[in-house]
Amino acid sequence: MENTKENISQTLTGFVKTTILAQGVVFESSSNLAKTGVDSYSVIEIILFVERQFGVTIPDTHLIAENLNSVDAIASCVYTLLNTK
C-alpha cells in the first residue's frame, strides 16, 4: 500500500482504536487526541508504532504540539518525513 497521507492516517487510526482506546470511544483521524483521553504515554506508543510501521523516526524538532494533536497531524508529519528522506 502506498504511503499517502490518507493511508498513513488510516493505519494510525486503526492502531489507536485497537490498541489504545476502549471499545465504544468515538474516534476519528481528526479527533483531538488529548480530549479523547490519549495521554502522553499513549502518544509515545503511537510514535514507536510509526517507527516500526513506516521505518521513520520523528526527530525531536518535530515533536511539537501541533504535530501531535491528532492522528491527521501525526500522519501529515510522517508523510513529510517519508518524502524528505
Binding site: A22, Q23, Y41, L63, I64, L68
Partner: protein
Amino acid sequence: MSATDFSYKISGADKFQLLLDRHIRLRGYIGNVISLGIEVKGRINADELRKVVNENTFLTQINSLKIEEGFLRIPRWKAQANQKPVKIIEHPSEQDAVDIKPDIKVNSGNLLHLDLLQNKSNSTLIISAHHVLADNMGIQAIAKIIAGNIQPAFTPFTKEENEAVSIVRQLVYTLKATRLVFNKTPKKLAKLLLGETETGSHIIRFTQEETKQIEQNAVKNGARISKSAFYLAATSMALQQTVFAKTSDSFFIPVPQNQRLRGNEQTVLGNHLSFLFYTIPFNKLTNLTEATEFINEQMMQQVRDKSPKSYSYLLKTFRFLPLSVYDFFFKLPTKGAVCSFLFSDVGETLSGMKTFMGKEITEVLNYPPNPCPPHITFVVMKHTGALKIITAYNPGVISSYEITRFEEKITELLLP
C-alpha cells in the same frame, strides 16, 4: 448482575496493594488507603449525600466486597449478601483536610469511606477507598458516579490480565521484569523503621498561569511529549539537594503507569497499573535539561521494550503466591524498600468536571497512600489546568524543615 453473584479474581496489581497493606499494618501504620478530596463553594447537604451514595447499589456493593481465596488460592472479590451502607462522617468544625486519614481494613465490609468537612461557606468531601479496591482512576470514577456523571462498568482487568499466553512467554516476561526491578541497589533514606507511624503532608499549589510557564519550561528542558520526565527530573534534583544531600549514589524510582484502555472512565474496580522504572545516578542531577533527557531516554526505551507489559506479567505471577512468601522479602535489611521514593504523575484529575452535587468545584486533591516504605511519596496532578505537587512523608524520618527546603528547591527549578 445481581448483588450477590459478583465474583472476580483480583488482579496482580491488586495483590501487590494487598501485600503493601499487610506490611504497613505490621509496622503499626494505618492501611493502604487512597483518597481524593473535592472542595466546593457552598455546603454539601450531608443527608442528600448519604441518600445519593447509599441508594446507589453499585457503590454499596463494592463497599461490601470481601476477598476470598478461590481456585489455586487465587484471591477473588466476593459480593456479600448483606450490603453495608458506605460510612459518611460529617465533620462540622473547621478541620484541615490533610488530617483526615481513615483506616480501611480489607475484609471489614467497608471498603469505602467518605468524610464531609463542613466549613462556613464551603464543604470538602474526601472519598477514600482501600487501595486494593481502586486505583487513582477508580476513585475518580467513584466521584463521577456520586456526581451522576457516569454509570459504572464491570471491566475489571488490564489487557495483560485477560490475555491468554503460554507459560513460557509468561515466564520470559516475568524474568525480564524481575531483573528490571530487583537488579538495583537504590539509595534509600537511612533511618528506616523508627516506629514513627504518623504521616505528614504538604501541598505546593501553582496557578493556571504559573502552570503554563512550567509547561513551557518543561518543553524547553526537553520534555517534548511527556511532562512527567521534567517533573520527575525536578523532583529528583530537589530531593538530592535537600533530603538526600548527605548521600551520593543513585535513585531508583518506580512510576505507576495507567494500563486502562483510554477513554474508559467507568471502571472502578481494581488496580489497572504497571510501572516504568527509572535509575538516576546523582551525577545526572546537576542540570535539569540533562536530567530530563536522561529520564526521557529511559522512558522511550522501556516503552519500546514493553517493560510495563513485562511488569504486568510479573504481578500476574505474584497473584499465585501466598502473602506469607513476601514476608521473607520484607525481612531483608532493606525492609522491603526497593525504591528511593515513590512518584506518580496522575495528570488532569476529574477532567472537565466543574461542579459536584450542584456546587462549583474550587479544588481537587489526590492524597497519596501511606508513604511507608520508602517514607516519601509525591503525586503530581492538575485540576482545571492548575498544577499541584502533593508530598506525603514520614515525619520520623524526614523533618518538616527538610520538606520545606525541598519545596523551595523544586519551585525554583520548575518556575525559575
